[in-house]
Amino acid sequence: MATEQDSSYAQGFGQVSRTAGLVFRYLLLAATMFGIVTLAVLLVYVANDAIQPLTADAGWHLTFFLTLVLPTILVGGALYRRNREALKLGGMVVGALLVSLLFSGGVAIVFVDIIPPLTGFSYAVGLAVAVAGTVLLTKYETQIPFTARVAATGLLFFLSLFGVPGYFHSIPELVQQAPVVPTDWIILTLVLGGLTALVVGQYIARVREDTKAGVAAGASALVLTALGAIVGPFVGIDANALVVVTAVSFVPTAAYAGGSVITREELKPGLVFAATVIVGALVGAVAVDALGFAGPQAWTDWQFLTSSHSGSAENAGLYPAIGGSILLMVTVAALSFPLGVGAAVYLEEYAPDNRFTRFIDVNISNLAGVPSVVYGLLGLGVFVTYLGQATGTVLIGGATLALLILPIVIISSREAIRSVPNDMRQASYGMGATRWQTVRNVVLPEAFPGILTGTILALGRAIGETAPLIMIGAPNVVFNLPTELSSKVSAMPLQVYAWSSLFASEDFYTKAVPAGVVVLLAVLLAMNSIAIVLRNKYESET
């Protein structure tokens, strides 16, 4: 078949000149670049509107050029020629710092403003007690029948978190009623700093292959966090904020930088690059302040990030929407991750090859193509009209978005599970493992990075969705942070939509909306870069 066709093609082959081929090639390249360049231009426009770099003094630009841009180019250029791997590490450290700073902002909103630290602490203690009990139970795994163990675990969690009203106080209640309660920053240091210390300690212990070094690293992380809280107020920084930033951003970034250098000595110059950028930025900031140069009149500023909607574009802010997006994401992740991974595990590891399985298969790929606005109708019809939930709450918003991204989570999790080598499963079954044992001990640990990457990308999709939230009746304007699952919720893209449609005016178009777009895109960029870094790391390991 091929030869006959090919010979007919051959008639025309000679006539096409080299130039035509070249033109074609560049046409293709231009077509490829069209969308990318258009978007890039639009992004430049919106960033310009939001940040307004030209409103800054020339001196401001010059100062930062001298302290930040020039040294970065010099050091970066030198490293690029000599040690590209080190430059990559340096870039990663700076990137990690930026992303984790953004992340610490989110953590601060959740653990300081949404959940009062004392409440969070009391539940953390309750959870810790329950988890400790569960761990103790697993020690006697072989003696206690499985059903009894599940029941006991459930009871343990219920009693420690909720107690028995009237008879027996729950642990959160006991903690909250304790005669002496620690102040907020101590609580944050203990919970967040403690968690970070634990993770950092384990990471360092692994790379140094030395338990003592791990303990030392963990302990110094904790001390550093506490120190920040004590010193902070003296230099005019809120103790709680400093604890969160130290525990979520500074310490993990430092541990990452240190750990990478320990494993690969030759990457040390990369830290010089990172230091150049960070010190340059700080020195620049101090210098413009001292010299009295005015910065740009950015609309994406601290005021915008920390205040709520206002009738005037200058005073409008995104704060409740940021908090709403965070709570929505937590709800979506909590719902879609277990359900999506569960479905993927069923389809890959359990499902017999029959009609029903094939039906589920086709069904999932069709669900992935259902327009998001129809999911919004589903949320409106099922949760609001039939189940009688209030409109526009965190819970139904999260549930609707979770249903929306579920097919994506399932499809990417299936791919990750499928990439686990069959050898591993055979080895496990050959040892007499049951399906669940094989799934838990072999399949899920191996597939986890891939599953996580897919889930983060799907969450990125959910965080940008607006239509389903409008459908379930999320309000256009929310003045307070949502504090419970039943609170009315706004979200970043919804707020942007409200500003660009309901409050449509030149003022909002040029100030509040671009500022909101920049924040939304920054969050998305951070999430996607985490996913991409995870994916690259995972791919290079296997």
């Binding site: 499963r425 055979q426 080895a427 050959g430 007499g432 044992q437 191996e446």
Partner: protein, 282 residues
């Protein structure tokens, strides 16, 4: 024996290998040794493909039984029938009786998971889990809920798999950091840690270099003192060296001959087996 096993096959590098092997593994199995596994008219289909036809044999206790034959003859398929690994393949269908100490493992009430806990398996390609050496060895103990002094069991198993001296200082490093031969011995240690009755080995040395291969062979002979070992190999001298009994499978999934190894290699009944062994085909 001269003449009958003239080494024309590439795999038969040295003629004396075969006879040396036979004298070393001088049949320790007497006729009254108890039968552990007995198969009666086992047939296997993969979809429409008839992979095994009417396989019947008796595998005696504490011995090494080798299965040889050209590739695609069904020897691995038969091995996977013994611990019902074929159950994991959707299109596979098994008919016939296969008994483990008198209990038909294809009875409806038999749990393949429980069966596999008694019948350990080592695969063709070393497949340690991406966990530490220690965790690899205790994997079976953990999933089977076996209590005991894990440190001691790990040490014993690794010693029996002739790996202890090489890894005793790095038990908590990943099993994937070991060499191919070490990985395969780790897989053997993992399989014997739970003390199964039968050990199935599917061409355990085919992916290894000659030194590692001979280490595995020595190990198999030692293991036969305590376990019933069934080993699939495409290497005829290997079968001759280490096995007590040999089953010859030929194309079409037939068991052509099953007898004492010495008999198979020196004086086979079937002309086809003789042709195969002397390298005339296969």
């Amino acid at each position: 024996m001269t003449g009958t096993n003239d080494p024309t096959n590439d795999e038969m590098l040295v003629e004396t290998d075969v006879s040396d092997g036979l004298s070393a593994a001088e049949s320790s199995v007497t006729d009254d040794a108890e039968t552990v596994i007995e198969s009666k008219d086992i047939n296997v289909w993969y979809g429409d493909d008839h992979a095994l036809t009417d396989i019947s044999m008796e595998i005696p206790e504490n011995s090494v039984t080798a299965m040889i034959g050209p590739s695609g003859c069904g020897k691995s398929t038969f091995l996977r029938c013994i611990n019902r690994m074929n159950d994991l393949i959707d299109v596979a269908r098994v008919e016939g009786d296969l008994t483990l100490r008198g209990k038909n493992v294809y009875d409806d009430d038999v749990d393949p998971v429980a069966l596999r806990r008694r019948v350990g398996m080592v695969f063709q390609k070393p497949n340690p889990f991406p966990k530490s050496i220690y965790d690899n060895v205790v994997y079976g103990l953990k999933i089977q809920g076996i209590d005991g002094d894990y440190d001691q069991i790990v040490e014993d198993s690794l010693k029996r798999a002739a790996l202890w001296d090489e890894v005793k200082d790095r038990l908590h490093e990943s099993g994937l950091d070991l060499s191919g031969g070490q990985q395969q011995r780790l897989c053997i240690a993992r399989a014997i840690a739970t003390d199964p009755e039968v050990l199935l080995m599917d061409e355990p040395a085919s992916a290894l270099d000659p030194v590692a291969t001979s280490q595995i062979e020595d190990l198999v002979e030692e293991l036969a003192e305590d376990y019933t070992v069934v080993i699939v190999t495409h290497n005829m001298q290997q079968a001759a060296r280490i096995s007590d009994k040999t089953a010859v499978f030929l194309t079409g999934g037939e068991l052509v001959e099953f007898d004492d190894t010495q008999k198979i290699f020196e004086n086979p009944e079937s002309q086809r087996v003789e042709d195969y062994i002397t390298g005339k085909f296969g």
